[in-house]
């Protein structure tokens, strides 16, 4: 089984078609939508994890591209400006996947990008407004 974390970009004319659902059905790919920004008539973006036998997964992604969807490997794009961070820990209060932690002995913020699901809660919670999330 192969697993990929991807950013799908939907041109406005594709947004209204259920291309992901059709792909899941046709190619039997397990799809976990982590984040989506989809609005009628606008370019849509979706952060997904897709899992399936390598060949089927690639065929599924090819299908999406044929439908006009741009498929890119997700560059994990959470950024914390460490030079200004005071390690207060307020961001860790809302990080349920525990990607952000502040612990003994150093009590400095530890950001594990592999655990981050880019939910963006920490962006709101950081009192110094030092975190940005893009996908």
């Amino acid at each position: 089984m192969a697993k990929k974390r991807l950013v799908l970009t939907f041109p406005p004319e594709v947004v209204e078609r259920p291309v992901v659902a059709l792909m899941v059905k046709e190619f039997d790919v397990i799809t976990n939508i982590l984040r989506a920004e989809i609005h009628e008539g606008e370019v849509g973006r979706m952060l997904v994890e897709m899992e399936g036998p390598g060949k089927r997964l690639n065929e599924g992604l090819k299908y999406l591209e044929d439908q006009g969807v741009q498929v890119e490997e997700a560059v994990k794009d959470i950024e914390l400006d460490e030079s200004l961070c005071t390690n207060c820990g307020a961001c860790t209060a809302v990080c349920l996947p525990r990607a952000l932690k502040v612990e003994a002995p150093g009590w400095e913020i530890d950001l594990d990008k592999d655990r981050c699901i880019l939910c963006g809660f920490c962006v709101d919670a950081c009192p110094l407004q030092l975190i940005t999330v893009k996908f």
Binding site: T86, N87, C88, G89, A90, T92, A93, V94, L96, K101, V102, E103, A104, G106, W107, E108, F121, D124, A125, P127, L128, Q129
Partner: protein, 388 residues
């Protein structure tokens, strides 16, 4: 064997003083006992770096020509308190920008001032014979004003509640974002490093105590507002709820934004992270016992901040070692616990102060007046004219 302030200061001047941070003192008292620790140690340094909403700064701008009595005043579009004579203002840390809303407030303004940035000053007034000018718009920075001092009415709280949220909606508070159904819990104290938790009965921290404030030297000006010493305490003297507070003063021009930072708590507003470090003289064994307190021995109440009342019920008691472990138990459920005050910067402040004392650059002061050791708070009751 008791020591005096003079004896300790003589040792500091000679470079012989033994200075430990409150963390180090806790270890020493644990391993060797308070009696030996009291003999060995002269000073214990504490530190805290947390959001302290009750903060602000006075600035005097000097007079324009023709002169003006600054009545309504905005700095970077943040309304500040004018009407203090002619050209004195007070910036309240929680005032919000009239243009940028909650993302910029008095606290950010104070930080920008400390960083030497140019600040837009705008004011209107009624005009008098002696102050004829009625409006002004200009730019100032810290080198273009007279006195500027931080004067915080309530800082360095001796303990604070642990906040959680039992409702079904996320709530946005000065204790951070609280997730529904006890989804998390936040706390805001340096615990064993906190100044007043190391001097629980205010034996040495009082009016006139010289301190580290925002990266510069400051002083305890007075008891802080809402100073409330008469609360439940553990046998070691530490209160289990917010108790003593300090009003602090210091030269804003000499401060460093590393230890004075503007913050915004989403959908709450602005607050100022203030770095405070206070040296505690180990006058005798009792002070060694006090400064030997550890996170396990300091407790606080868990309060449900979704209750819209000033008298929230306690959901239980936790100690700071439990809070610092990353999770606590509320109503049988494991709940993520997270700090809002920076332990690493609190530690840095205690270390910095320790370094200054060891280098002979920072002498201790005996309080010119002690803080009240008893007292509770009144409340604001809504009454009509017939009720007065």
């Amino acid at each position: 064997m008791a020591k005096t302030y003079e004896e300790i200061n003589q040792r500091i001047k000679k470079g012989e003083a033994v200075v430990l941070t409150a963390e180090e003192m806790t270890e020493l008292v644990k391993s060797q006992g308070a009696k030996k620790a009291a003999e060995k140690v002269d000073v214990v340094t504490t530190g805290t770096f947390g959001p302290m909403c009750s903060s602000g700064a006075f600035i005097n701008f000097g007079h324009s020509d023709p002169p003006m009595k600054l009545a309504r005043v905005w700095l970077n579009d943040v309304p500040v308190c004018g009407d203090v004579a002619a050209v004195d203002v007070y910036i309240g840390a929680t005032a919000l920008s009239e243009n940028e809303g909650m993302s910029y407030g008095g606290a950010h303004l104070i930080q920008d001032f400390v960083d030497g940035k140019w600040i837009k000053l705008r004011s209107t007034s009624h005009g008098t014979d002696c102050y004829p000018r009625r409006e002004i718009e200009t730019w100032v920075n810290k080198d273009k004003v007279n006195q500027a001092f931080l004067f915080n009415p309530r800082n360095a709280y001796q303990n604070y509640a642990c906040a959680t949220n039992g409702s079904e909606n996320t709530i946005y508070t000065y204790m951070g974002v609280l997730l529904p159904n006890y989804g998390n819990a936040t706390y805001c104290s340096a615990g064993q490093l906190n100044p007043l938790l190391n001097d629980p009965f205010y034996r040495t921290i009082g009016v006139g105590t010289r301190i580290f404030l925002g990266g510069a030297t400051g002083y305890v000006a007075w008891q802080g507002t809402q100073h409330k010493p008469s609360v439940e305490r553990l046998p070691n003297g530490t209160p289990v709820s917010p108790a003593g507070t300090l009003a602090l003063i210091g030269d804003l021009k000499k401060m460093d934004s590393r230890f004075l930072r503007g913050a915004r708590f989403i959908r709450y507003g602005a607050s100022l992270y203030v770095g405070v470090g206070i040296p505690i003289p180990i006058l005798d064994e009792e002070m060694a016992v006090f400064t030997g307190v550890s996170d396990e021995e300091i407790e606080t109440n868990i309060l449900d901040y979704s209750q819209p009342t000033r008298a929230r019920d306690s959901l239980g008691r936790v100690n700071y070692a439990e809070l610092r472990s990353g999770s606590i138990e509320i109503k049988g459920k494991k709940v993520l616990s997270a700090p809002l005050s920076s332990y690493s910067v609190a530690r840095e402040i205690a270390e910095t102060l320790k370094g200054s004392i060891k280098a002979g650059e920072f002498l201790l002061t005996e309080p010119v007046e002690l803080l009240p050791s008893e007292g509770t708070l009144t409340t604001l009751d809504v009454r009509d004219e017939e009720g007065i």
